[in-house]
Amino acid sequence: MADKAQSRAQAGRLLEQFLAAGAVEVTPDILQPAEALLDLYGEDIRARAYVTADPLRGEMMLRPDFTVPVVQAHMAGGAEPARYAYAGEVFRRQDHRGPARSNEYFQAGFEIFDRADPEAADAEVFALFSDILAKLNLSATIGDMGLLRAAVDGLDTLPERKSALARHIWRPRRFQHLLARYSGQIEVPKARADLLTGQRSGAPWIGLRSREEMEARIAALEADAKAPPLASDAVAALNALAELHCPAEAAPAALRALAIPALEPAITRLERRLTALAAKGIDLAALQFDASHGRSTMEYYDGFVFTFTAANPELPPVASGGRYDALTRQLGQGREIPAVGGVIRAGLMADLEAQA
């Protein structure tokens, strides 16, 4: 195992390579205000980040990643376009034991904020990482969260159903449950049926949620009950999409074979990205494509995603990244910019280099 000095040195070398690729160094604080992270990730972040308290600034977290502070700094006044690099420690609480469960490790990262050509920016980040990691014989997988989002958006059903499904793309279990509900595969529970026939509780009203809020939701449930179920072939196509994996070069044809018309713009973007990757020397036959890649582990990514992994399945990915346009919108207070980036685990890379 690489010790701390070796990991830091490796992170420093990666930072130099990112700077040589045109990035500007950013150095976010280790102590981050908890509020923005909690708002973004929800309660789940408490299970993964160390929370501490500052007497004047309130609840703080030990930096669980660099992306959020880098986006905040850029949205607060960065010039466009921008390329940023950073290296330093991140801190992750671990609730389970295991060899790969470090709670403190070095990351080096590279991020591009550029409106001009998103697919070229995707390819630039991936090719840079691929080049830096070339000696380690890692396997690379790419995906695109935009495909599932487009397929959901293209469903012939109520907008409320689409937005509920889109909201849960990152939570496959709830997503499948909703899909089964909307397609009539699970029976309407008795409580829901009673509600729709007008049954109401006689209990006194308590709490902050108002009667009007309840009535608005009941109206939405009534509209939902009247809407026809999702067509079974549409559900089958969506499930086939979620399960699709193949060599990247075969992905556009495999996606078109699903015959989901709403996917076409996303497939065109994927083709542009693959062309840009090939132009940078990436072998598309060796690159894996997985339509659900990162679905339950890489939450703020909403487009292109990638990982580089070692052969040992117990190890976490050596590098991972993707596109997070929506994150810039959430943190940008009304502004947004297409953004893509990734990180490399410096200590893990040093370990693998020592073995190679």
Partner: protein, 233 residues
Amino acid sequence: MIKLGVPSKGRLMEKTFDWFAERGITLKRTGSEREYAGAVEGAEGVQLVLLSAGEIPRELAAGRIHLGVTGSDLVREKLADWKSQVADLAPMGFGHADLIIAVPACWSDVDSLEDLDAAAHRFRATHGFRLRIATKYHRLVREFLTREGVADWQLVDSQGATEGTIANLTAEAVADITSSGETLRANHLKILSDGLIHQSQATLFASRAADWSGQESRLADLAKQLGLPAPTL
């Protein structure tokens, strides 16, 4: 000596004493009524340690006691990756309580986690913050709702009188222990139909961190006397 940690008072202590007595081991408090000292008869090399039930998980994790009786909810809540820290030797058949999620009974539109998730989404859009769930069982509730794919909630800490938080406008839902459900009903709350997080009962646990060297045969004898398979620690 094998140190056995047992709740120091109340029904949990009495029921624990009964459970061991049925298996030929007499546990008793010694000295004055207020003194937390105990004695063991009917088992060789076992020392009784009387502790607060809430502290037994921590003492097991630290290895300061070898065996301990406490609620299965407390072990799961207080110990991260609990199976790596303690072994679950025997459910003891008393101290039953369910950790559940409850919402105002007036919410006619909310019966299940699916409803809670949808209501939480609308609540956040309306009020600008996530729907608040009051509890002292942070780990169990967080793991449950994450596993179930419920979004747009937050936990607020409540160490007591949790059922009152909704009427006091400091939470919209609660996650708490109930046995009869009476406190919930009295506070105009109802349990979600699929909101059962954990069915707790008093359980005999063994510490994986305790020093067992030289105690192996004693533990085997004790397990045999209690009618349990020999534990692997």
